[in-house]
């Protein structure tokens, strides 16, 4: 141990006696440019460029039984709705990312990553899958989200169908379920009272005194004396966007990571 200290002192004394020349300014800037530029290239610029030209994946005849390009389809007002989603901060509490099973367990949570449905042979299958790079169609920025105060929304459109079957629900259509949820999240069901649920987005609605029979566009199920609630354009766009969120479609064999995947014969 003593020898080690001696060695350390000797090295340090040499260092003191031979104080290294400070870097020139040019060398300093060059070193900074390199130490920043290399990661900048490797994790920002090159991946960005590569992902802009992401090659499509194909369904192949021998493994999927058909020969076509995989094109996830979404319908609805995705661009506008995505902007309203961002402007109202929905991404602060909701995520839209189903992680692979080595990085998280939302694949196991029922109805988050997919659903148990019967396929064409009447067999119950679980359509749960991870998010692929081909999801987020029609958006310029994937609203991956910050926290999960509320549930993940990747497959919310599918879940809402299930909620409509709940005998306690007051909504009669997916749009109306969402309008009720956004207006006041405790209005959706007859009993559930929600202190720490989704905050009321009343600014997305217009409250108007009922005239005559009332407007056909009013959200049904809101009991306010003589006042009806109409969704604004932002609300319609947002609901249209949310109802397009379903990411459990079948993907080609090459990006299917399911344990049970089988090649179509």
């Amino acid at each position: 141990m003593g020898n080690l200290l001696m060695v350390r002192r000797t090295i340090s004394i040499n260092f003191i006696l031979r104080k290294p020349d400070p870097m020139t300014f040019k060398a300093f800037i060059l070193a900074l440019a390199l130490s920043f530029g290399v990661p900048w290239l490797l994790i920002i610029v090159v991946p960005y460029g590569k992902m802009r030209n992401l090659e499509a994946v194909h369904f192949e005849m021998d493994s999927d039984g058909r020969d076509e390009v995989y094109v996830p389809r979404r319908s609805g007002r995705i661009t506008t709705g995505s902007a309203v989603y961002g402007a109202n901060g929905c991404y602060v509490c909701h995520t839209q990312l189903i992680r692979a099973s080595y990085a998280g367990s939302e694949l196991g949570r029922p109805d988050w990553a997919g659903f148990r449905i019967k396929d064409e042979n009447g067999v119950t299958i679980n359509t749960a899958r991870e998010t692929t790079p081909y999801d987020y169609v029609g958006e310029s920025f994937a609203h991956v989200g910050i926290m999960r105060v509320g549930p993940d929304l990747s497959n919310v459109a599918g879940r809402i169908q299930g909620y409509l079957d709940d005998p306690l629900t007051k909504a009669d259509s997916p749009e109306n379920w969402l309008y009720l949820h956004l207006y006041n999240s405790s209005f959706k069901t007859k009993t559930f009272n929600n202190v720490a649920g989704c905050p009321s987005q009343t600014h997305l609605f217009e409250e108007r005194v009922v005239r005559g029979q009332g407007s056909p566009e009013a959200v049904p199920g809101i009991n306010m004396d003589g006042v009806e609630v109409l969704p604004t354009g932002d609300a319609r766009a947002l609901v249209s966007y949310l109802l397009s969120l379903r990411k459990d479609d079948a993907v080609p064999y090459s990006i299917n990571y399911s344990r049970e995947k089988k090649k179509a014969e």
Partner: protein, 255 residues
């Protein structure tokens, strides 16, 4: 910039700067007392880097290396590792005892597999009375195991008599199945919809697979079944009450 100077000594009007240090100091205090009391530091110390800093840095590097290891192959553009398959997330429906008789173990697994058969043969194994024959009370199920195995693996085409009725449908092949899966579903249909009372072992199912592979592809017919396959599968019989671990199907002591 500098304040305008007045002659410091009225007897010598050319002299603008004060020669008095004290006066100058007081003048500076008026301008910047805080600056005046500041300490001056020029050199940086040259203490050597402590060994402990290196040791701690090495520990942190090790941890970071472990984290990086989870990232798969560096600079590969795959979002997931090549050998990634989704973990099975057991839902609550799957919980239950984990050790029990091998008959229960196989039947439980067989029930899950049977789910895709129930579309045609019915959830109670009664068929639909028209196109798809019942499995309950069918001696094709309760009879020789090799016949049943070949029906399952190859599918069936052509007419077949079941429980006094002729069915003329087409059954698709259910292969590929693993030996464990085949053993399980056979045990299930023989015991759930009938009460044969014995099990089809994994070894027997493996032998059935060998026979399947040695046969040309394509659905099997009743004639071929009766001619070639009307016998019990070869393999060591196992007592259905043997206690096994449900996961591995290996014998285990009861808890």
């Amino acid at each position: 910039m500098a304040d305008s100077k007045k002659p410091a000594d009225s007897s010598r009007p050319d002299l603008e700067d004060s020669t008095s240090v004290v006066e100058r100091h007081e003048g500076l205090l008026a301008q910047g007392a805080a600056q005046a009391r500041e300490k001056q530091v020029a050199e940086t110390g040259m203490e050597p880097v402590s060994l402990w800093v290196f040791v701690a840095s090495a520990v942190v590097l090790l941890v970071a290396g472990g984290v990086l290891g989870a990232g798969g192959k560096l600079f590969s553009y795959n979002p997931h590792p090549q050998d990634y398959t989704r973990t099975e997330f057991a839902s609550d429906a799957d919980t239950g005892p984990t050790i029990g008789p091998i008959l229960t173990a196989l039947s439980k697994r067989g029930k899950n597999i049977y789910a895709k058969c129930s579309g045609c043969h019915g959830s109670t194994g009664n068929g639909d009375g028209n196109q798809f024959p019942p499995l309950a009370g069918s001696d094709w199920v309760t009879g020789s195991t090799e016949r049943l195995a070949q029906i399952i693996l190859n599918g069936l085409s052509g007419p077949i008599d079941v429980a006094g009725k002729t069915y003329n449908g087409v059954m698709p092949a259910q292969a590929p199945l693993t030996a464990a899966e085949l053993a399980a579903v056979m045990t299930f249909v023989r015991n759930e919809f009938n009460d044969v009372g014995d099990i089809v072992t994994v070894e027997q199912a493996a032998n059935a697979l060998k026979i399947y592979e040695s046969r040309p592809q394509g659905q099997i017919t009743v004639k071929e079944l009766n001619d070639k396959h009307d016998k019990m599968l070869e393999g060591e019989p196992v007592d259905p009450a043997t206690m096994v671990d449900f996961e591995t199907l290996k014998p285990a002591a009861a808890e």
